[in-house]
Amino acid sequence: MKEKLILVGNGMAGMKVIEELQTIAPEKYDITVFGAEPYGNYNRIMLSPLLAGEKSLDDIMLNGDDWYTEHGITFHKGKEIIEVDRIGKRVFAADGTVEHYDRLLLGTGSHPVVIPVPGHDLADVVSYRDVKDVDSMLEASRKHKKAVVIGGGLLGLEAAYGLMQQGMDVTVVHLMPWLMERQLDETAGKYLQQSLEARGMHFRMEAQTSEIVGDDNGIERVRFRDGTEEEADLVVMAVGIKPNKELAEKAGLYCERGVVVSDTMQTFDPSIYAVGECVQHRGTCYGLVAPLFEQARVCANHLAGYGFRLYAGSVTSTKLKVTGVDLFSAGTFQDEDGVENVLYQDPATGVYKKLCVKDNRIVGTVLYGDTGDGTWYFQLMRDATSVADFRDSLLFGQAHLGDSGHGGVSQVSNLADDAQICDCNGVCKGEIVQAIAKEGLFTLDDVKSHTKAAASCGSCSGLVEQLLAATMGGDYEAGKGKPMCGCTEMSHDQVRQAIREGRLTSLRHVFDNLGWNTDDGCDKCRPALNYYLISTWPDQAEDDTQARFVNERMHANIQKDGTFSVVPRIWGGVTTPQQLRSIAEVAEKYEVPTVKITGGQRIDLLGVKKEQLPGVWGDLSDAGFVSGHAYGKALRTVKTCVGSEWCRFGVQDSTTCGIELEEMTWGTWTPHKFKMAVSGCPRNCAEASIKDFGVVAIESGWELHVGGNGGVKVRATDVLCRVETTDEVKEYCAAFLQLYREEARYLERTAPWIERVGLSYLKERVVEDDDGRRALAERFHASQKQAQEDPWKFYSKNHDDKFEPLRRAS
């Protein structure tokens, strides 16, 4: 018999737990859901577009009735639970339904706060929480003209905007001197007020409501403490929320402001869990979706019996969903000791940016008018990244850090619906926004799989994240700690740590010990795990070929027609007539359709058929070539220029240095591809300043560069340091490469890695710590013992016909 799980509260947090359970432990529970509202689970944050008439109820449904049936979940729609009997493990609904549970999950959300002034119980006084409230407002807007919204916070302003869209004349009444005082400072609050006034919204600031005047026939006006009045036919109270803990309290569960839970989302009764707005965790109650989803994932993990995730609280950010108003706020930004404010303000364009920095870490931000970099600042804030290295250009945004790929389009909100966001797959802004709303997408991965945006080269991921943030309003689920794929709850960093600490040496170990929810992983996790295994345990772990993408399995690049391309290594880009002749002979013998000089100073044989590969490799290998790994997450090319041997400007022998570097590093597997270049003087003809590791000769020796990228997002290198001898170049190179191999996440190139961990950190490890550098270099050399066996030589002789069809019967 399956255990019985009951969810009370068919809202966003509770249902997220149920959805998670459907993927990670679909067979574990017999699930019953009670929801007081007469609908399936809908996207509450989309109530504002619903009110504004920009969306329909169907558009904002997350799980309709069919979903429950399809997943075998019993759904008691429109039934409120009024009592929990913890001894007998039963719940009682208002209509008399009684159900037994083994585990109970509370997701009862919160109640809107109602100020108990005289008249608060009149018919046309509504709050703003659910579909029913939106219906009442819509109905009132058809009959009446004049609305007063009490509360100038996020909800109040969204309600006011929606009612204006419905043709009402709206006045917002706010107790404080500026709007959204919890999310904005005074300047931003005033900017916001001005721009809403320009749209026709009225305000009464620092006004305290004392009475709502009216009778059974309706409301007449709102009266304030100072004796003034405002005409009104509809009053919306949006002054805050309070956790809905009554049911829990009545059942004797320990509550303070909300239902108190531990880091595993358990209440004081171990068989009762709680998530969402009803919960108080480490003293905090949250009112935004992103932290609630984090809670939900942890909760599902424990309900599924895995028990390794902990909820440690969340940092949240806010975005107002009023079309055409751009504001973003996160963290703390009030003046306090040790906090320095970095400011930018242009009243003419209505742009205001404030970054609060403490000990070189961003602790808060308020952006108004240009929120393009909000997600970036937020990421820096949550990762506690040191901004010391780029503090002077921080306000100018990420584009000024070398991300010139999309320099012109950082303000995604200003783009038209038909503006193309994903240039690889041709996806426009409108399609993405629509998919986010319609399909209920919350993460970058969701958007990738539904729209294909950001699914190819990924350079538009940042823009898509901005769209997510803009469309969802508040914070959406972002990067850190996110599971590596659908097979696990663990993040890349956690998996890697577990591989190291648990001495896991095979994929099977990982799947079994870390509770993978699939038998053999997927196309996302398998290659990553294989890399983590072989880079952590070069001696013990066995390289699993079935965990490798076709190119790395075939040691050649697959082409659009299913043939392959073969690129032999040409050390430092230097070749000989004899080598060229051998390549020419191979090309002729196998009738290779295209021979091309690559952008990496080598020669590409394109259009080789699979069954020809062993022959081509064998001939190249006999002529002295090894694989160029043009296909791998591996050391690719080392470009060089002619250098001091020939060039009239050359100050060092860049060619020899490049060849030595390539001989030292070829064959190594890395988190993503790794490219190098050595230039013979600062004219830099080998383009060392856009390589993962670049070396530029100077009169006194060599300048070492790291973290360059020439692909989708061009990034110029950072200078690591200067050294004198070629041996030092090699030692620093080996150390840097090893640090990258050990610490970067799979598919993270050096450029984003460096932006994540900071240049100062790399200097600390590779430049300032002499012993540490030598140890890293030694570990690199040790791992190379296994790596420098040429795969072509091996497979040209050991292939058991597996490059041939199994049978030809045509």
Partner: protein, 117 residues
């Protein structure tokens, strides 16, 4: 490569002996050239065997070179996932590739010459 001894049940002309289970790597695939074009025979982690035309419904990529996981194969060209047992692309992608029946008798594998409807 050794073709299996045809046995009574598979003597009919519909079934083409193609080899042994051991010829196909676990979580991998091998191709059989047929009158309909190349057919990829897959073997998954629990030794189930499936056969699909070796042409991805997206842009014709060779599914035989894809990564096999569970009952899915990920196309090597643009990473669509195809259900091995149905030939259909996994949502949210749409498309379908002809599927062929495979019969296992002992260690021997037989491929139906005609696609399953």
């Amino acid at each position: 490569m050794t073709a299996a001894q045809p046995q009574a049940a598979t003597q009919t002309p519909d079934w083409l002996p193609v080899g042994r289970l051991g010829d196909i790597p676990r979580l991998g695939s091998r191709v059989v050239e047929t009158a309909h074009g190349p057919v990829a025979i897959f073997r998954n982690g629990v030794d189930e065997v499936f056969a699909l035309l070796d042409r991805c419904p997206h842009k014709g990529g060779p599914l035989s070179e894809g990564m096999v996981h569970g009952r899915l194969v990920t196309c090597p060209l643009h990473a669509w996932n195809i259900h091995l047992d149905k030939g259909e692309a996994k949502a949210p992608d749409h498309g379908c590739v002809p599927r062929f029946e495979v019969k296992q008798e002992g260690d021997a594998l037989y491929l139906n010459r005609e696609p399953a409807s």
